[in-house]
């Protein structure tokens, strides 16, 4: 059941979970490159690389 719950929470297939005690469990933990600031860093980095390649 736990295996099924983990599968369901990881893939979004929450309807697979039959046991209400385990339903809706999400897996907490750090996500690599989470948040808008990281995307801003990527955009700035790409802009600098393009400028360098053109210049």
């Amino acid at each position: 059941m736990r295996q099924l719950s983990a599968f369901a929470s990881l893939t979004g297939l929450s309807f697979l979970v039959a046991d209400p005690a385990l339903a809706g469990n999400t897996v907490p933990g750090p996500l690599l490159a989470a948040g808008a600031p990281v995307l801003a860093v990527f955009a700035a980095g790409y802009y600098l690389v393009r400028r360098r390649r053109r210049g």
Partner: protein, 278 residues
């Protein structure tokens, strides 16, 4: 328009078709994660958190579409393209986000196998195929093989700190505290994103595929595992700071350190193509 010109520029090129298909399937694949993020944190916080989707995946989406934009627009559709398009659009209509990720896998595999070597379509398809690893297949692998994968993390932590472990459970020296490596703390999640970043950089800047490129990918994966192992080890070594290390400042330090290591390794591996004559 002359007949020759019409032949040169088909009404819809393969690159144009797959541009739309990849975009639809990827955004649909994101929906499941985004819905959970909005539900848990509200719209504003979810938007700042990129809807719970790693910036690496958003950047890879942009890179894949940018690569497809480089196509010269002369390759017409081939047999099988329309079938793939219908399959993908049908999957997009299903109210299950993973269906789109499966369709994206099929479409990117088809495009990668049928496009000319080095063509924008093949390069973009490789990026989107790597993305399916982080969106779906890595998660499925972790769900299906969570026991051995989490055990591996525990073995690394136990080996590094010289402590005992059983399965995915680790005891501190003296057995005062114990830690269970959960799926969210597995190195697997970071590894699949490191592969996406490596694939995006290498395809965007046309890095030739070979042993050297593969070695840089392995180095990025090793760095991801090493930093995660250190993070878990720190939680075990300083149990009084466990909440801070798990989801406070420690999480941010681990995230930014991993990101810096992955970016540095991938860019160093592709330095000639990215920076020119460095």
């Amino acid at each position: 328009m002359t007949a020759r010109a019409a032949q040169r520029s088909p009404a819809v090129t393969r690159a144009q078709l797959f541009y739309g298909l990849f975009l639809i399937a990827t955004l649909n694949g994101f929906v499941g994660m985004a819905a959970r993020s909005v539900e848990g944190a509200g719209w504003a916080a979810a938007a700042f958190d990129l809807f719970g989707i790693s910036a690496i995946l958003w950047a890879a989406l942009a890179a894949g579409l940018k690569i497809l934009g480089e196509d010269d627009g002369t390759e017409p559709l081939r047999n099988g393209d329309v079938a793939i398009a219908i399959l993908l659009l049908l999957a997009a209509l299903l109210p299950v986000a993973p269906a789109s990720a499966v369709a994206l896998t099929a479409a990117s595999l088809w495009a990668a196998l049928t496009a000319a070597p080095g063509s924008p379509l093949r390069r973009a398809a490789i990026v989107f195929l790597a993305m399916t690893g982080a969106i779906l297949w890595g998660r499925l692998l972790l769900a299906g093989l969570s026991r051995p994968l989490l055990d591996i993390d525990a073995i690394f932590v136990a080996g590094t700190l010289g402590v005992e472990h059983q399965g995915n459970m680790i005891w501190s020296a003296g057995g005062a505290s114990r830690l269970i490596v959960a799926p969210g703390c597995s190195s697997m999640q970071g590894m699949s994103l490191a592969i996406v970043f490596w694939a995006s950089v290498n395809q965007l800047f046309r890095v030739p595929f070979g042993w050297k490129a593969v070695c840089y990918c392995l180095a990025a994966l090793a760095a991801t595992v090493a930093i995660n192992v250190l993070r878990i080890g720190a939680m075990l070594h300083w149990p009084e700071h466990q909440p801070a290390i798990h989801h406070g400042w420690g999480m941010h330090v681990a995230m930014w350190t991993t990101l810096a290591a992955v970016v540095a390794i991938c860019l160093f591996g592709a330095r000639r193509e990215v920076f020119g004559s460095l």
